[in-house]
Amino acid sequence: MQLAVNVLVLTALYAMMAAGFVLIYRASRVFNLAHGDAMMLGGYVFFTCLVATGGNLWAAVPLALAAGFMIGVAVYIVGIRPLAGYPVVSIVMVTVAIGILLRSLATLIWSAQVRYPANLLPFKDTPFHIWGNAVISTLDIASIAAAAIFFIVLIVLFQRTALGVRMRAAAENPRLAANSGVNIHRVIALSWGLACFGATLGAVFYTTRVNLEPDSWLVGLRAFAPALIGGMTSLLGVLPGALIVALVEVLAAQYLDPIMVSSAPFIVLLAALWIRPWGLFGTREEVVRV
């Protein structure tokens, strides 16, 4: 039973971070290898906000999320938009370079010391007992709730609102969208901002649960597997993708070597690439087109 709880919490974390990969892939057709670093930077900003506001969550979290949004928009404006028309490979390399730059900045500003934002929280993370001897804490419940709300908002945005339709249109065919009056630069910047918003949201929960250090970007990068397994073009696919990866990771940690935890998502990724490269819900043309 405890395993189920762990899987659920991990799924929520992965879902929040993986949503960003899908959003960016749909908007700019690139694999954003800087997403992990964006998550790490978001975590550091959250940490600084906590310190600055003296542990006031109601101020720190929105501030950090807003900053995360701005980081995403900034990365788009500085790194992606100038390279419009360049081959995809170049843009992926640009995201790698931006990621390294973000990591360098984070280390210089905050030093490589490991931080524990959990110590700055105004409350203690109280565990609850449910269903026998399974334990779930307030933070765990909060992360699941946050992920659920985030996804509901995203889905409502994309399926029901005119803005969402225009974002999907711009993601599918930027030229035609521009010729229909959509300001595609604003719309794509919005996608990037939302993606990094999600990454920061995941960072908030991850850093309070575990810790924060410049190498946290590796955790963010693991979230790539759920995105790919669900299908890089499908936001809904992130949920089953995250579930599968979380399941494999928790089971591997439990029954195999704990060291396998960090490579489990990639093994699942490799398997998915060999069996079904376009993911569970992705569109098949994607693979051949690329």
């Binding site: 028309g85 339709v165 999907r168 030229r175 009056g181």
Partner: protein
């Protein structure tokens, strides 16, 4: 001047290939003007240059200008051109394939305009779309796609429509119906149209004026009657072959020197 004015437009692809070397034309308000030419003459290039280019496009405008209602259009991004009332209906990729018909129409932006009223007008013009509102656009037939493309353009409240090769791959009946709709748009909604076509017969049926584009230059222009009575147009563009011509290589265009200027 009310309407579109293109003055000596020059356009280059990939900084190497000159596609347009000095194109000048006019589309007065409330008129349908045809721009005809063979493959590679530069018709789509002209329309793209008018409709606005995105950063990262291989095409670039290197000379001349485009004015609509005496406001300069070239250099503006596409969504700004749409805001000023000039909307492009492209040749390929003219609809959003993964969105439904209704979503396709919803994607058009017309700031401060009554989209609901215009939507009703679109469904009146193209009744075929009504039962298919919830279908994925990718599954529509060729004629229905073109209708959806025109509908999507109409929802941007255009004053000038740039229509690129509307009749490609469509049955004659469908072509006739679409042309009728264009005329209805001109008369009922006051929309001018710059109609780019390879199907010269069809284009000249509805046009008020016509331009002939060859290798990036306008070589002739006039009313449809004037164009239809011109020898070279008859022979090459209308397919009314002159007796004795055995292959297209014999046709005037290929051994023509300065016949056009007259």
């Amino acid at each position: 001047m009310r309407g579109l004015r293109v003055d000596n437009l020059e356009s280059v692809y990939n900084k190497a290939v000159t596609a347009l070397s000095g194109v000048s034309l006019e589309v007065p308000e409330g008129r349908i003007v045809a721009l005809v030419g063979v493959n590679g003459s530069g018709k789509s290039t002209t329309l793209n240059a008018i409709a606005g280019l995105l950063p990262g496009d291989p095409q670039a405008v290197t000379g001349g200008g485009v004015w609509f209602d005496d406001e300069r259009l070239d250099g503006l991004p596409p969504h700004e051109v749409v805001r000023r009332g000039v909307v492009l209906v492209p040749e390929r990729e003219k609809i959003f394939e993964t969105l439904t018909v209704a979503e396709n129409l919803q994607a058009s932006v017309a700031k401060g305009r009554d989209q609901a009223a215009r939507l009703a007008e679109v469904f009146e013009l193209f009744p075929d779309l009504v039962p298919r509102k919830a279908s994925i656009a990718g599954y529509l037939s060729g004629g229905q796609r073109q209708m959806l493309a025109l509908g999507r353009a109409l929802l941007c409240y255009p004053r000038l429509l740039l229509v690129d090769e509307m009749t490609l791959g469509l049955a004659p009946k469908v072509i006739a119906e679409l042309l009728t709709r264009l005329v209805q748009m001109r008369d009922g909604l006051g929309i001018s149209v710059l109609l780019v076509e390879q199907n010269v017969t069809a284009a000249l049926e509805v046009a008020d004026y016509g331009y002939i584009l060859e290798k990036g230059r306008i070589v002739f222009h006039g009313t449809p009657d004037k164009l239809r009575s011109h020898e070279d147009v008859k022979e090459f563009y209308l397919g009314l072959g002159v007796a004795g011509a055995r292959s297209y290589r014999d046709v005037k265009q290929y051994r023509r020197t300065r016949r056009w200027w007259g």
